[in-house]
């Protein structure tokens, strides 16, 4: 067996171990849901029905299904096993399964987050490296000041300012939504239409994420550039480009990957607020609608999905880290 396949096997085993460690976390999330339903003031059935007027027969049936006449631990067991079957419940407001509702809104969110992720990662890292290399320079000071501002600014207000300037003021972009309602375009025209609507929300959300990535990259890159091995690479007469990108950059990126993984929850929060401002029809907007209607089953479903996504993202980050830095796998 070559050493590469050996590493592959070990990486796979490591990934499986990390995934297994994530299972209790998912269980914690499900238990939090259960706690929310039962500890919050008010009757669980009323809450899940969202104050809808249903006949007593149906309510009694629901009570039986939830096992509300059973001891609490039996109820918990019922709840956990429902979740294990991926049954997220039913939204009485939307008259639809929570799971189906979430799936129908997922593509829009992925489009917005994916676009912003590509923009913010590429520019954030590039600017961070340049700023670290020219530490103390005008560009670094300007960018660091700007990103501190970005860090202290509510992302939804940033979105509103974008709307004020580029949509209301200059009229360059549409105000809300994902497609024009007046015209129904198809094919290439539709792609252009969606891109036109996507521009402002994607820009807003990118600025928000870029701030974080820039700050991290700059600090880590600065640390790495002052390390001995970089100095020795320079002393060996390697070109500056090679020193920065082949020697310093990979080492600086390790902690950046880890910390970015820890911020996935933070980034998702940003996307909910961004979608709300621009009425972007994704999961964030759905969450806003669920809050407005006090649609508790939908809220619980969204919370579960988002938490599981964050937990999985953490596992993925660790695996990526192990892939870049094989020492993790062998220790």
């Amino acid at each position: 067996m070559s050493s590469e396949t050996a590493f592959g096997t070990r990486l796979l085993a490591y990934s499986a171990r990390r995934l297994a460690q994530a299972v209790p976390l998912v269980l914690v999330v499900v238990i939090i849901n259960f706690f929310l339903i039962h500890a919050a003031p008010g009757d669980p059935v009323d809450m899940l029905l969202g104050g809808m007027d249903t006949d007593p027969e149906f309510q009694a049936q629901m009570r039986r299904e939830l096992g509300l006449d059973q001891p609490l631990w039996v109820q918990l067991w019922t709840y956990v096993s429902n979740m294990a079957r991926l049954d997220l419940g039913y939204s009485f407001r939307f008259r639809q399964d929570v799971g189906a509702l979430i799936m129908s809104r997922l593509p829009a969110s992925l489009l917005l987050m994916g676009t912003s992720f590509v923009i913010s990662v590429s520019f954030g890292i590039l600017l961070g490296v340049v700023a670290a290399y020219r530490a103390g320079g005008l560009l670094e000071r300007l960018l660091t000041g700007l990103t501190l501002s970005g860090y202290s600014m509510p992302v939804f207000w940033l979105g509103q300012l974008m709307l004020l300037v580029f949509a209301v003021g200059l009229g360059w972009f549409p105000i809300q939504g994902m497609v024009s309602l007046r015209t129904t375009s198809v094919g290439f025209d539709r792609v252009i239409d969606v891109a036109h609507h996507l521009a402002l929300p994607a820009l807003t959300y990118s600025v928000y994420q870029l701030t974080l990535i820039y700050r991290l990259t700059r600090v880590k890159m600065r640390e790495t550039l002052s390390r001995e091995f970089v100095k020795s690479a320079r002393a060996r007469g390697l070109s500056e480009l090679r020193v920065v990108f082949r020697h310093a950059f990979p080492n600086a990126m390790l902690p950046v990957v880890t910390v970015m993984g820890l911020h996935v929850g933070h980034m998702l929060a940003g996307s909910v607020l961004t979608e709300t401002v621009f009425a972007w029809p994704g999961l964030g907007r759905l969450m806003y609608e669920a809050i407005g209607a006090r649609d508790f089953p939908l809220l619980l479903g969204l919370f579960t999905c988002i938490s599981v996504a964050v937990i999985v993202a953490n596992v993925v980050t660790d695996v990526i880290y192990a892939f870049i830095d094989p020492r993790v796998v062998y220790s």
Binding site: V29, V168, G265, L268, A269, F303, V310
Partner: protein, 272 residues
């Protein structure tokens, strides 16, 4: 010391003074705020900023300037109390874990990790949605979810301080664990704790703004987030209703962040 490092060293002081200014400004009454923040029709609806209504009025004829002042006060209150609550839990957990070490440390750090992974903005949303959007619930939700960062900082400080000679000396002189933890070690760990606690205040203010923008703020108080939500439909006719409340959040948060950065730099110079 160059001019630039001198400015940097003064950062916590300057930003602290600025913050004090914001606090005083937000809590001032009398001549500064002739209008009731909650009253409708204190002026014409959607009036542009002028000498009477410094930041204009909204669609119900409420005075934006007065509402911004009241909202800032609520933001500061939520930010500071939530950070204090987080600090209390964070110090208790971090100090115990760092001081006792071993099994206790393992267990406490596992719990901390769980709280770090679960997305706190969303959990805060859930808590407030289920238990009701009172100011107290908002503070508790934000506070109880923000402690892990602080617990880690405190733990690291305790780990490095507990084996110092002066602690050994105090122990030999018969000092108990609680005495050692809170009278001997904690005062020496206060710098980094304060630095990271300050950053928590700004985070809490931004979380509160986000929650109330989504409609999860206390409806009985003026809140900057809710003002921004209500300003959106009238954006075309009244830019001031969007511009000023956001500016207030931004100015408060950036001042606190600058102070926190200054303090962090002072206590952890190696992170720069």
């Amino acid at each position: 010391m160059t001019a630039r490092t001198a400015t940097r060293a003064g950062l916590p002081i300057y930003s602290g003074l600025l913050l004090l200014g914001i606090v005083l400004f937000a809590s001032m009454g009398g001549a500064l705020r002739p209008f009731d923040a909650e009253r409708v029709a204190v002026g014409p609806a959607l009036a542009a900023p002028d000498s009477v209504h410094l930041m204009g009025t909204d669609e119900l004829g409420r005075d934006v300037f007065n509402r911004v002042l009241s909202g800032t006060r609520v933001s500061l209150f939520v930010g500071i109390t939530a950070a204090l609550a987080a600090a209390l839990v964070g110090i208790a957990v971090g100090a115990t874990a760092g001081f006792l070490g071993g099994f206790t440390d393992d267990v406490l750090m596992r719990v901390t990790e769980v709280f770090q992974v679960i997305p706190r903005f969303f959990l805060a949303m859930m808590l407030v949605a289920f238990f009701g959007p009172s100011l107290g619930n908002v503070v508790v939700a934000i506070g109880l979810l923000s402690w892990p960062q602080l617990a880690r900082v405190v733990r690291a400080e305790f780990l490095s301080l507990k084996s110092r000679d002066y602690i050994e000396a105090a122990r030999a002189a018969g000092a108990g664990n609680l005495n050692l933890m809170f009278a001997k070690i904690l005062p020496n760990a206060l710098g980094p704790t304060m630095a990271s606690g300050t950053l928590l205040v700004a985070q809490a203010i931004l979380i509160e703004a986000g929650l109330s923008y989504l409609g999860l703020g206390d409806p009985s108080r003026v809140s900057l987030g809710l003002m921004l939500q209500q300003a959106q439909p009238i954006m075309r006719s009244a830019w001031w209703a969007t511009a000023f409340p956001g500016l207030a959040i931004f100015a408060t948060a950036i001042t606190i962040n600058l102070m926190g950065e200054g303090l962090t730099e002072r206590w952890q110079p190696h992170t720069r």
